[in-house]
Amino acid sequence: MVKKVITGNYASSYGAKLARAQVIAAYPITPQTSVVEKIAEFVASGEMEAQYIKVESEHSAMAACITASQTGARTFTATSAHGLTLMHEMLIWASGARTPVLMTNVNRAMAPPWSVWADHLDSVAQRDTGWIQYYCESNQEVLDTIITAYKVGESRDVLLPSFLTLDAFYLSHTYETVDIPDQDEVDKFLPSFDPPYKFDVEDPHLFGSLSFPHQFYMEWRYQISLSMEKAREKILETEAEFKKIFGRSHGGLLDTYRCDDAEVVLIAAGTMASTIREVVDWYRDKGVKVGLARLRVFRPFPVKEVRELAESVDVIGVLDRSYSFGYGGAFFAETAGALYNVPDKPLIKNYVVGIGGRDVTPDTVSGILNNAISLKDKGELDQEIEWIELKEGGD
């Protein structure tokens, strides 16, 4: 084990190297670019034995990763914002083809207006593509999640693609101390990719052929759903195994902090969770019972964990760094959906924050917490959805 002070992007590159990704297909986009630059250095120096396809678009990056995976290679790519949304068609293709491709997405806002700063719309908009989605809070988590996510995605029970996200600049370009595990230990933890079916000239098959409505299309999709369900336990099991060897873990699907006796809990994903953690401590020091539940995995959605959390909580505030025009942020809508069939639901309010990279400061979080606490006292919502810290004249 070596400690290095590296950016989130480099943590991602180190993760791909340690996982021994065999085929990389990538296209540059700000602020992801240094992920693939670093991998190019690894490959050029011979430190990493991989075929690196410098594709002409993100759409082609994903297409190449899919067929490389179907040929039997472990594949990796990285992207952001417009790159991810350009891939949309191929994201659905990847899960349909049951290829455990792995991708880093640096969460960035979508244009127009142009913005290269943190925003979750790019990845949240991929909710229905059949990808496992991890939202990271630290550079260490980025590296570790690459290693564990391969193991989850490639397991025969799952065989689904995964992406992990890190917030633009807050992680992508911020240096943190990261433990780089020994290659031997990673090799022991993560065996080489061994798919049940692949292109083989000695055993030819036709992949992805037409299926009529009366045939198996519907069952094929149902099987993806079953595999996504199995991914829940696989994520927990893999993290536990990782912890045994490497001595750390990152909180499963819903990473809770000081929630045990909390009356008010904020649910949030990505780097703003670190700020909330700090502010929760301040409130706890004053005896106010608040907590944080960091949404680490958005797909599969941690339904069980959210329901357990809700049992003892009076107010849940869901912070969304993206918005679905027409009704609420996706994290809010999913949380509310998960709780609809539960008796004695807490109040649930949606706080829309940090859109286009606007800072979510301790003051922002305090304001939200104060509002959520006031709802608990009143026993009802003031409004269901609130955009936080809009500038004057912004409406």
């Binding site: 065999q22 190449a64 899919i66 036709l206 052929s209």
Partner: protein, 298 residues
């Protein structure tokens, strides 16, 4: 007895789902004869996504993967990279797309793939329109042709503008081997495929594949019309190897009317349009002869 020059082994077996007289079906049969069993083929949305068979059937004895419409070039890049990563040698990677998937929606991925120089063979089977979706014009549709989106009518709204010259676009990428071939001349086609197989790097073969359904002609006419396209110089057979042109067949040029008259898609063409068609072909043929002469002299 005449000696067989075409390999006997059939890698495409009976039972394909194509229309009667499908040129695309013949093209695959011949190309696989040239490439042999150790071939992986990637096919985007096109007639061949159906021809290959409905789940769970296949008419191919080689692995085939269906991929999205615009990504054939990227998909074969991924297959080759993975074979290299896994150190699997002696496998041909074949990209197989129609004119729409090659000249229109797939041109970016193909351009990227050939520019990067991966080792593969890309075949465009050109039936000169979006036949799988029901005969809509593509940039491979010849000027003057009827399609369902160039329905002629009173305003003479036939396909305007010349057919995109994909072969020259590939030649401009400076790839080691580009060729045209036709299902009307299987020996020439298979010879070119075999040659391409022996060359490392990206190879592009543009195969003329008549579609009786879309060209509005009887199914029995496919081979005849494919031969006529060559004999009238509407679709010349040639190769470009490392920039040097070599014309495979120099026919005693027949008038274009012989090619046009057996196809319903051209039946509305007024005589001045036919004359223009002939002039364009003559000019292109002259240019090709000059290219051959010039590049061979270098």
């Amino acid at each position: 007895m005449a000696k067989l020059t075409i390999p006997e082994e059939e890698l495409m077996i009976p039972g394909h789902m194509g229309c009667l007289g499908c040129g695309g079906a013949l093209a695959m049969r011949y190309v696989l004869k040239g490439l042999g069993k150790r071939t992986i083929v990637s096919v985007p949305a096109c007639c061949w996504a159906i021809l290959s068979g409905i789940f769970p059937n296949t008419c191919l004895r080689v692995p085939m993967v269906n991929t999205a419409f615009e990504v054939t070039g990227a998909s074969i890049s991924g297959i080759r990279a993975a074979l290299d990563a896994l150190e699997i040698e002696d496998v041909n990677v074949l990209g197989w797309a129609g004119d729409g998937g090659t000249l229109d929606i797939g041109i970016q991925a193909l351009s990227g793939a050939v520019e990067r120089g991966h080792d593969f063979i890309y075949v465009c089977y050109d039936n000169e329109a979006y036949m799988n979706t029901g005969i809509q014009r593509s940039s491979g549709t010849p000027e003057g042709a009827w399609t369902t989106t160039t329905p002629v009518g009173d305003t003479q709204a036939w396909k305007k503008g010349p057919k995109k010259n994909m072969v020259e676009i590939m030649v401009a990428h400076k790839i080691p081997y580009t060729a045209t071939a036709s299902v009307g001349y299987p020996e020439d086609l298979i010879k070119k495929v075999t040659k391409a197989k022996g060359i490392k790097g990206p190879k592009y073969i543009h195969v003329f594949a008549p579609c009786p359904t879309g060209w509005r002609m009887p199914p029995g006419k496919s081979v005849e019309v494919a031969k006529l396209a060559v004999q009238t110089c509407a679709f010349p057979l040639y190769e470009v190897e490392n920039g040097v042109y070599n014309i495979s067949k120099k026919p005693k040029k027949k008038p274009i009317t012989e090619y046009l008259k057996i196809q319903g898609r051209f039946k509305h063409m007024p005589s001045d349009m036919v004359e223009k068609f002939q002039k364009d072909i003559d000019k292109e043929w002259e240019l090709l002869l000059k290219k051959e002469e010039f590049t061979k002299s270098l």
